[in-house]
């Protein structure tokens, strides 16, 4: 009996070890997406423009937990996604776009100079009350927040733990297909889940229990979106790896269109 138990245990341990080894080798050696390419500062990085990709720097939940932090935080995809997306916005629209990103936070009032901000991995943020109040003020003055790249029920709950303190009185709702945000430039009636690179080779597009992409938002009193929440998708990866032959173009194309529509909406509504 004991021998049998030992044999089963050994089998399970071997299986788990093999699985872990397989995963580590995939993320270290066989993973085709290079996040560590040396960054070259564009020559026009200091150009003063109408719009810049403003990335929100926020405090993380469990910031002492290295494993949890490795899973997501505000610098994910930074700065390659920002710059690559910005170059697309510059090429495809008439917007005067800065080639490099702008990091903003809710501790400084400088955020009010950037009426469009992007928060990645908001399923990991943990905004203090003062920052919640400032974000609320920012949004009610006319600012716009886009959140992206958080997945499943747990990260949704984390995101809402802060967002519900930003707007305790406003519901998060599904954005209907006929909302202007999906038509302001591109007609985006047919949207699909945009996966992160962790899903390579993309035989699945979801992470955790985030099976379906959700397009949610928070409206102001006049029916204008203030917060656009991209849940169960990773547009940031799609921007970041738009130049990768391994990342499918159809996801990148949609991610760019969504991002551009969100900017155009924020600048016209």
């Amino acid at each position: 009996m004991i021998r049998r138990r030992l044999a089963v245990s050994a089998l399970v341990i071997s299986f788990v070890a093999a699985a872990l080894a397989q995963r580590r080798s995939l993320s270290v050696n066989d993973y085709p997406f290079d996040d560590n390419a040396p960054l070259v500062t564009p020559p026009d990085a200091n150009e003063k423009t109408e719009w810049a990709f403003a990335r929100l720097q926020y405090p993380s939940l469990q910031s002492n937990n290295r494993a949890w932090m490795a899973r997501g935080h505000w610098t994910i995809d930074y700065p390659k996604a920002d710059r690559q997306f910005a170059s697309g916005v510059r090429r495809l629209t008439r917007l005067h776009v800065r080639s490099v990103e702008q990091v903003v936070n809710l501790e400084s009032d400088d955020i009010f100079n950037w009426p469009w901000i992007y928060a990645v991995e908001s399923g990991h943020w943990d905004l203090p009350d003062a920052q919640c109040a400032k974000l609320r003020e920012y949004l009610l003055r006319g600012g716009f927040l886009m959140t992206d790249d958080f997945h499943g029920t747990y990260e949704w709950d984390v995101m809402m733990a802060s967002m519900s303190r930003v707007f305790p009185d406003r519901p998060v709702v599904d954005i209907p297909n006929n909302d202007q945000i999906f038509h302001v430039l591109y007609d985006l009636d047919d949207r699909f889940q945009v996966p992160g690179t962790v899903n390579y080779p993309f035989n699945k597009t979801y992470e955790y229990d985030g099976y379906e992409a959700e397009w949610k938002g928070i409206y102001d009193n006049k029916g204008r979106l203030m917060v656009a929440i991209c849940h169960n998708m990773d547009l940031g990866d799609a921007w970041e790896h738009a130049d990768s032959p391994y990342y499918p173009e159809k996801f990148t194309g949609l991610a760019y269109r969504i991002g551009i529509n969100y900017i155009m909406y924020a600048m016209s509504h």
């Binding site: 423009t49 005067h96 100079n113 009426p115 003055r141 924020a266 016209s268």
Partner: protein
């Protein structure tokens, strides 16, 4: 005193002509005078006096003056003056019979004082010399038998109209003079130049006797209230209330503006120096569409001598139309978003925007139908002229064809619309506008250089002109408003636009790292208005101030109202003042234009008027012989109350357009104002017609002085001057002076 020295009244001198009766030639007088002076000088020089030359000259001058005077007297100087023939001329005595004459200034009413003067002696004295006709004057002129007919109950006094009627009726009669007894209070606000010219043409002197205190001791009086005649619903209006006080300097009062029982605005004021006119501005909302009768009042002070001049009413027509403004933006900009949001709550403005998001895609917002602007910026005047205002953002001038550029000019010039140019990287000089014909319409002289747009912070500064402007009024009090502007956040960027053109008004400037430049400059252009707002960074006023702060919204709503509210339709009906005070005369002027806003000279224009007590009328307006497209008529509102005139213009049976006119007649109000004697008006009337202003206590001299007139049946009378006492007194004085001087200098 004058007559003691000069023998005759001053009127004889002012109206008479100097003549010499001796019959000897005048040149001989001159020759003898010169010869006498020369002889005296020679004698004095030859005598080689012991005195110095100055003393010799003084004595010579004294002696020469004596000789000259004697020579002049020998030539018998006299005055030839035209005088009325006794009992052959009419003197019209006209008495103001309006209610202001019943004002009790001191001992009885003004009318009592006039009656007393007339009945005690004046009428009798006049009747000894002339035929006297007695009249009362109010709305018009009325012949009366005696002063008992004077009641002072008339609510109106139109001195000008009455005098005009008198001159017309007496054009065939020998009227030698007019004597007007009045306090000078005139319902029409004065006597017009034409009336005075008519009187002068008949050479009838109008003598006036002024009644009433020239200066009250305790009174607070509204002099005028200036408010726009027309306004859009919800517009913020400014009422300029002009008033003066007597005896309350430094005290506090309160101005209120009411619409019925509802108080629209109120302001506490400190009264200025005694007799000094002061003006205070109050701001209020026009409210919803409809006719507003505003009651503007000053708090009644203790002991006021006239308590009926503390309130005044004004009529404002609040229009229900919603001006449409087309905003074309050449690239996505935060300014675009925040302008849209800023005017979103303004119920009186419809902002239709077209934003070029990509090279080939235009985002339309606020359009009335999917068809509107589906082909981009309007291609025809008819399409563009549907709008009341036009905002041109960061759009390169090359985006507009030459035809479209001309249309933009005509939009302001001919259409009468407002055009606002915003700063931006493709705006103004950076957009090549300095090389287009549009440069003519701009209120600033654009520099001929690129790179005028800078994304650097700029500080807005309100100019003295801007301080008074409603566009920049964020706080009602002008001084506090100025302080508020000093705390406004910096603009995100600026554009150097050069100096303002002559005729333009710079309401705000901005301090930038490269100097101070105009921020908001405006000017009229043709029938319309043009403005330049040389930044795209006012969005920071919204994003960097608390969400409750409404200054950004207020600024843009006020700017766009300025841009569009004065833009009229194809048919524009107007009257100089929709509040008819004691007068039913209503001049109506209608302008008729085609869809492309060229004048329509062959329209049929009718006005259907409805008023109180079932008053109804339909009148046809006649084309103005001078200005094509203008039609005029005059109608008389018979009774007090509110009226509406519906004006319609048709051409070949097709309706061109319509407009409506609201007006109101009020009776018995203006007599309450200007309660002090309007001496200035009476003096001016007398002076300009050859008469004289008299105080009541001098009335006894009038019958004599009134004689000297060139009107009516006259004769030339000659009055000797050689025997005037002044001559003899002068001779004595000259000789005595000479004797005294000689004695003093040791020559006697």
């Amino acid at each position: 005193m004058f007559e003691f020295f000069f023998k005759y009244p001053s009127t004889v001198y002012s109206k008479g002509k100097l003549v010499l009766l001796s019959g000897w030639p005048e040149w001989l007088l001159i020759l003898l005078t010169v010869a006498a002076i020369a002889a005296l000088s020679l004698v004095m020089w030859r005598s080689k006096p012991v005195w110095n030359n100055l003393r010799s000259a003084i004595l010579t001058a004294l002696q020469a003056t004596v000789v000259c005077l004697l020579l002049l007297m020998l030539w018998q100087p006299a005055l030839s003056v035209s005088a009325l023939k006794p009992q052959q001329n009419i003197v019209a005595v006209v008495v103001d019979n309006s209610s202001s004459m019943k004002r009790n200034d001191s001992d009885g009413t003004r009318l009592d004082a006039a009656r007393k003067i007339l009945d005690s002696a004046l009428l009798k004295d006049l009747e000894k010399r002339f035929q006297v006709r007695l009249y009362s004057i109010d709305q018009g002129l009325h012949r009366i038998a005696n002063t008992d007919a004077l009641t002072g109950n008339a609510t109106v006094s139109k001195l000008g109209d009455g005098l005009k009627q008198l001159t017309a009726e007496s054009s065939g009669l020998p009227v030698g003079a007019v004597l007007l007894l009045s306090d000078g209070a005139d319902s029409a606000g004065g006597i017009d130049r034409q009336t005075i010219t008519d009187i002068r043409s008949q050479r009838i002197p109008v003598h006036t006797i002024g009644f009433g205190k020239e200066q009250l001791t305790k009174d607070l009086e509204i002099r005028n209230v200036d408010v726009p005649i027309r306004a859009l619903s919800d517009a913020r209006l400014s009422a300029a209330v002009r008033f003066r006080n007597r005896g309350y300097a430094g005290q506090k009062s309160r101005i209120e503006i009411k619409d019925g029982a509802k108080t629209l605005a109120a302001k506490d004021v400190t009264l200025a120096k005694d007799g000094e006119e002061q003006t205070e501005s109050l701001m209020f909302s026009a409210g919803l569409a409809g006719a507003r009768r505003l009651a503007v009042s000053l708090k009644l002070m203790d002991g006021e001598e006239n308590q009926s001049n503390n309130s005044m009413s004004r009529f404002v027509v609040v229009e229900g139309r919603k001006p449409r403004i087309l905003y074309i933006e050449g690239e996505p900009r935060w300014e675009f978003k925040f302008i849209r949001r800023g005017v979103e709550d303004d119920r009186s403005i419809q902002l239709v925007s077209m934003l070029r998001v990509t090279q080939n895609k235009i985002l339309r917002q606020g359009a009335s139908s999917p068809k509107e602007l589906e082909n981009g910026f309007p291609l025809t005047p008819e399409e563009l002229f549907q709008y009341d205002g036009l905002i041109i953002g960061s759009v390169d001038s090359g985006y507009f064809s030459l035809t479209q550029q001309e249309m933009i000019k005509q939009f302001a010039d001919r259409r009468g619309g407002g055009v606002l140019f915003l700063g931006g990287r493709a705006s103004l000089s950076d957009g090549g506008y300095d090389k287009t014909g549009l440069i003519d319409m701009l209120p600033v002289a654009l520099p001929s250089a690129k790179g005028t747009f800078e994304r650097e912070l700029a500080i807005p500064i309100v100019t003295p002109s801007g301080k008074e402007s409603m566009i920049l009024r964020l706080v009602e009090d002008p001084d506090k408003n100025l302080e508020r502007w000093k705390t406004m956040p910096k603009l995100a960027d600026y554009q150097a636009v050069g100096r303002a053109k002559p005729g333009a008004v710079v309401l705000a400037e901005m301090s930038t790292p490269k100097g101070v430049f105009p921020l908001l400059a405006i000017q009229n252009y043709g029938r319309g208005r043009v403005g330049v707002f040389a930044t795209s960074g006012s969005w920071r006023w919204q994003m960097t101030q608390p969400k409750e702060d409404m200054t950004h919204e207020m600024f843009w709503q006020q700017l766009l109202r300025w841009l569009s509210s004065a833009t009229q339709g194809q048919v524009i009906a107007s009257t100089p003042n929709p509040l008819l005070s004691d007068d039913g005369k209503l001049p109506i002027r209608v302008e008729v234009r085609e869809k492309n806003y060229l004048a329509v000279a062959d329209a049929d224009v009718t006005a259907r008027i409805l008023g109180p007590q079932s008053v109804a009328a339909q009148i046809k307006l006649a084309p103005d012989p001078v200005t094509p497209g203008v039609y005029t008529a005059q109608w008389n509102a018979p009774v007090a109350g509110d009226y509406v005139a519906e004006i319609e213009a048709t051409r070949n049976g097709q309706k061109v357009g319509a407009d409506s006119l609201l007006f109101r007649r009020e009776d018995g109000v203006t007599e309450n104002f200007y309660s002090e004697q309007n001496k200035e008006l009476l003096e001016k009337l007398s002076e300009e017609t050859g008469g004289r202003y008299w105080k009541p206590d001098m009335a006894g001299k009038i019958p004599t002085e009134i004689t000297f007139s060139e009107a009516g049946i006259t004769t030339r009378e000659t009055y000797d001057l050689w025997n005037m006492p002044i001559f003899f007194l002068m001779l004595l004085a000259l000789r005595a002076t000479e004797w005294l001087l000689r004695r003093k200098w040791g020559a006697v």
